[in-house]
């Protein structure tokens, strides 16, 4: 369970997160959507402890994560872009991360196996294509059976087969009771996977509810339409307030 309470963050004069309060439900997939620069990545990075919020707090299993790092043993993270130390081999990268998390009890090598990463164990990371690097970070994110999975645009750069494998894996993890938080621009993908939708605009969630709720609230049957409707309503509200 991840609880976000009144989170604020600005970079200089720019308020990136503006009073964000959210509960990320366990055992389900929550998708964070929003236009570019709406604060999605910053929100995700706050949960990972990569960005320090100015105000507010984040609780993981009822414990504040501020200045903590042990909680990250429960978290698997797949960033948007991956670059690795160029002169290490694939095998060495995996042993490095396993070394750092030696207290992890058992490892889940399903993605590692399905992406056939074992076959390129001796290859240097600097020589790999973008898609392969993406497969590696996916495999790393799932490796330690994390109870919380955080994925930032996970399928960008993956081929269709790899994307399907990843989606299957996500559904499997949900069935196993894991909490998944995912950011994406691909509405189809979100519609296919997500149980909950959080729509962020200008650093504030303007919608937070289940897939059925968003469709019901907007009287639309398709998610993309529903999102457009939500954004329009938000803008009208904004104009109304200014008037």
């Amino acid at each position: 369970m991840i609880r976000i309470q009144h989170l604020y963050k600005s970079f200089g004069d720019l308020a990136v997160l503006n009073d964000v309060s959210l509960d990320i439900h366990p055992g389900s997939i929550t998708a964070v959507l929003g236009p570019n620069a709406s604060g999605k990545s910053t929100l995700i990075k706050c949960i990972l402890g990569l960005v320090n919020p100015d105000r507010g707090r984040i609780l993981v299993d009822d414990e504040s994560i501020a200045r903590r790092w042990h909680y990250r043993a429960k978290v698997g993270y797949m960033p948007q872009i991956a670059r690795f130390p160029e002169n290490l081999s694939v095998d060495e990268l995996f042993s490095m991360i396993r070394d750092l998390r030696e207290d992890a009890e058992d490892v889940d090598i399903e993605l590692f196996a399905r992406y056939e990463l074992g076959a390129m164990g001796k290859k240097h990371l600097g020589t790999l294509s973008g898609g392969t690097r993406q497969k590696i970070i996916a495999a790393l994110a799932f490796l330690f059976n994390p109870r919380i999975l955080i994925l930032d645009e996970p399928t960008v750069g993956l081929d269709p087969v790899a994307t399907t494998i990843l989606k299957d894996k996500l559904r499997k993890e949900r069935a196993a009771g894991r909490t998944v938080l995912l950011s994406s621009h691909l509405v189809n993908e979100v519609e296919e996977l997500a149980d909950h939708i959080v729509y962020v605009l200008d650093g504030k969630p303007i919608f937070d509810g289940s897939m059925e709720e968003i469709k019901r609230a907007t009287a639309e049957t398709r998610l993309d339409r529903a999102l457009v409707r939500i954004m329009e309503t938000a803008k009208e509200g904004d104009h109304g307030a200014r008037r």
Binding site: K45, L50, P79, P85, E92, D99, L100
Partner: protein
């Protein structure tokens, strides 16, 4: 092994295989070898090498340090998302990087001395001083580079800042010292001069090597002052302490910035 040690180990692995590092070791080897062949006795070779150490080692440390740190930005995000604290990541990377660079320096410069083992015994102290000062420079200037790369989001700014720092310490400082001596020539300027030397690690390193080379007599009265300060045991302890402080300051500043940074 702690987390910092593990990160250090893999950083070292990665660096040792880097083409840059191999290139640097090869370049230093060639320069030293050439100086040996044309310079005659090892004493002269050490003197010529001193200039390489004083100028090139800090320069390559700041340039490579900034480039490597900026290049590892995305991977740092992956490391930071692991259950590891930030201090371990930063120190592991810094020590791994500077350790690999020290290795390249010691191998590149040291190997020709081993090959031409003649006169080595007589010069062992001087060569050891040269190598020790060089390794101190690697650590000081790598720490400076890491600090700048953490502090500035923009690569160009970070690289620019470290190059300016290098330029001031390696080049401008000597001008300032000359200016000071010129302005204060009617007064006993040695204490002030000594202070200025202590404020710059590159000058401090230069004096330490020069005093080992028995050519301090050429520096007249000032040389005698330096000899009396640096030559004594207290002087050596004092300059070693100053070197440690020069390394510690950028390490602490960088660590502080890294711990508070938003990635």
């Amino acid at each position: 092994m702690g987390h910092a040690g593990k990160i250090l180990k893999y950083e070292l692995h990665n660096m040792v295989r880097s083409k840059w590092l191999v290139g640097i070791a090869a370049m230093l080897f060639v320069v030293t070898e050439v100086l040996f062949r044309f310079g005659g006795d090892p004493g002269k070779t050490v003197t010529s090498l001193m200039n390489v150490v004083l100028v090139i080692v800090p320069l390559m440390s700041v340039v490579l340090g900034t480039i490597f740190f900026y290049n590892s930005r995305e991977f740092n995000e992956i490391l930071l998302a692991q259950p590891v604290n930030r201090t371990s990541i930063y120190l592991g990377k810094l020590i791994g990087f500077s350790g690999a660079l020290c290795l390249a320096f010691v191998v590149g410069v040291g190997l020709p001395f081993v090959i031409h083992s003649f006169g080595l015994r007589a010069y062992a102290g001087k060569i050891a001083t040269l190598l020790a000062v060089g390794c101190c420079f690697v650590l000081i200037f790598s720490a400076l580079a890491f600090y700048a790369a953490t502090r500035f989001e923009d690569r160009i700014k970070g690289l620019g800042a470290t190059l300016v720092a290098w330029f001031v310490l390696a080049v401008v400082w000597d001008g300032l010292i000359l200016l000071f001596v010129h302005l204060a020539r009617d007064y006993p300027y040695e204490p002030g001069l000594l202070g200025m030397v202590f404020l710059n690690p590159i000058d401090l390193g230069r004096i330490l090597i020069l005093l080992q080379l028995d050519i301090s007599a050429l520096m007249g009265y000032t040389g005698a002052v330096f000899r009396s300060v640096f030559g004594s045991q207290n002087g050596i302890i004092l300059s070693a302490a100053a070197m440690v402080i020069y390394a510690a300051v950028p390490v602490v500043l960088g660590l502080r910035t890294f711990r508070r940074k938003d990635f």
